[in-house]
Assembly symmetry: C2
Amino acid sequence: MLAQYCGPPMDIREIAKRAKVSTATVSRTINRVPSVNPQLARRVWSVVEELGYYPNTQARALVSGKSRIFGLIVSEITNPFFPEIVQVFENIAVQHGYEILLTSTVHDPKRMEISVRRMIERRVEGVAVMTFGMEELVLEDLKLRNVPLVFVDVGPSRAHVSNIRIDYLHGIRQAVQHLAALRHERIAFITGPLQLRSAATRQQCFLHCMEEIGLTVDPKLIVEGDHTMEGGMVAFSQLLKQPVMPTAVLCSNDMTAIGVMRRCHEEGILIPRDLSVVGFDDIRMAQFMLPPLTTIQMSQAELARLAFHALLSEVQNESAPNGAEYFLKTSLVLRESTGLAPSRKSRPEKSG
Amino acid sequence: MLAQYCGPPMDIREIAKRAKVSTATVSRTINRVPSVNPQLARRVWSVVEELGYYPNTQARALVSGKSRIFGLIVSEITNPFFPEIVQVFENIAVQHGYEILLTSTVHDPKRMEISVRRMIERRVEGVAVMTFGMEELVLEDLKLRNVPLVFVDVGPSRAHVSNIRIDYLHGIRQAVQHLAALRHERIAFITGPLQLRSAATRQQCFLHCMEEIGLTVDPKLIVEGDHTMEGGMVAFSQLLKQPVMPTAVLCSNDMTAIGVMRRCHEEGILIPRDLSVVGFDDIRMAQFMLPPLTTIQMSQAELARLAFHALLSEVQNESAPNGAEYFLKTSLVLRESTGLAPSRKSRPEKSG
DNA sequence: CAGGATTTCCTGGACGTCCGGGAAATCCTG
DNA sequence: CAGGATTTCCCGGACGTCCAGGAAATCCTG
């Protein structure tokens, strides 16, 4: 039970006084150093529980030089892609006694700069940069201080800088071949913002996979989106202006695909009867769409796990001399937004 | 420009030495105390910039007794309701020089307990509890320490405990009257988990508003959901078993409504032709649905703002003696998931 | 130029914790 | 029971910063 004691000096000294031992003994007790007399330890513990004493992390951090905080930089928490990353990252962090300092730069360099400053001031032990290819200059500050970093896709090979390389090709190839198997030939691609390394890579993979199976890509069927739903709608509107419609659209991410679906709904285009749609990311929302979205999965949970362990092994000095590399696969998950290509003459009816 | 200097002791002492002043002067300089000679100040600043020095927050916290951290407890980050709260809360916090310690108890008391412990260890200056009516026992620990708290809906009137009271009635009344105006009479309600204070209140408001305009509520049309999409699907399946279908469904939150829409899609029930659906929360996803979901808005941004400022005025000792109260309105936003009630004769057929 | 009033700076301690070195207590051995 | 080897504990200092109080330098006034 917690006592009524409320006086300010609820510190290790107070505990020591009440347990009639020195502060050092209290310290060793709560840190479970074995060389402390069990009887004393019990006395200490009982006082600790009675007073509801919790050690002061900042004091600990100060003397140990370890803040036990990791920074986590994402581009936008409200982007449905990120919450699960945050969730999983936080879970694991807590399990390992770490706290996380979360920041969402809303693609704003100034916010990025501020957040880097915050992280340095709090003396984070490492930072996971989940912005997918925005190689930010401000991060130089962190590198100079030898703060371990982990990037996705883009990141220099350097000491204390790890990288998670994503195998976009695998999932995209599956998607393209899936569409091809369904007799699709005019396959459109809506890209992300091309300054994003990951978005550029996805496009290249698409082109590569099409070529691989001998399908030609009409350049007019490649349009640029911005990874938002609105961008997806706009991009798809452009596609609608084409003399010959594509029969399938592959999107650089799920939000784009959702925009496409929305636009289709407005236009009375039925998915998958008239058009097949494939997304990328497999955000949770994808399975909630009507129809549920076929998409290429890139496990957010796994990504978070990799990022955390990359940082953890850096701080535990198990680091590779020149930055470790981790790999994450992507793969197609089939749902209901893809179907047989409509024949050019007569549109086949959806069979139940 | 940052120097190549990388030695560990990058502290206030190092700056003092290089600027040939005492540490106190450096401290006062970076804290912008006016009583420092401008010439010295410039010398200090130039050294600070040159070395890229950032003061150590934990040392500051230790001596000042202020961690400049607020805790933020949400039920689930992956629940689309919360990311925007987190986003806005974080924004304002940073503007005020605060950091946030985020925790999502996944409705797990043990996780809640751990997170409270983490917060106490980091000596948070206040905690916003955004779990909507889970009055948690573990929070006693925080109250005992006089840590300012802010709750939504539920929370004792006590010193250092503020409350945000949500006016559910306003929005729900608008929704009910909107449906009534569209000739709906058999209106169903899918509740949330009833141990949640906010969910129970929403249900009561619904009943009240129906009675208010002389509509009777068939008890069979009140079914319990759990605020998830799956729960919404199950609940709606129950409604489908009724001899007479409702013509409209009001849901305790948007995810539930999305579940209903999904089930309708499977059953070939067209929204809004055969059934009108209204959600609650106005999460961003609501406008992405097909058709876009009519829902009752409870501004997440405003909620976050209120919560932050409640804590801020507590730490600034502008606190009301017995806990302040804040109020947040709700109101209907019309989209496309509601329409005229279908005539009573023709029941919607399953279209295959 | 003396004397006091200000301004401006520095010294020394404190915040809460942990660590190294050494002192005291305990045990074992002969 | 003496002597040494362990175990178990305490004292003093340190982490990086801020603050109180006092010393030094500067200014003003008569």
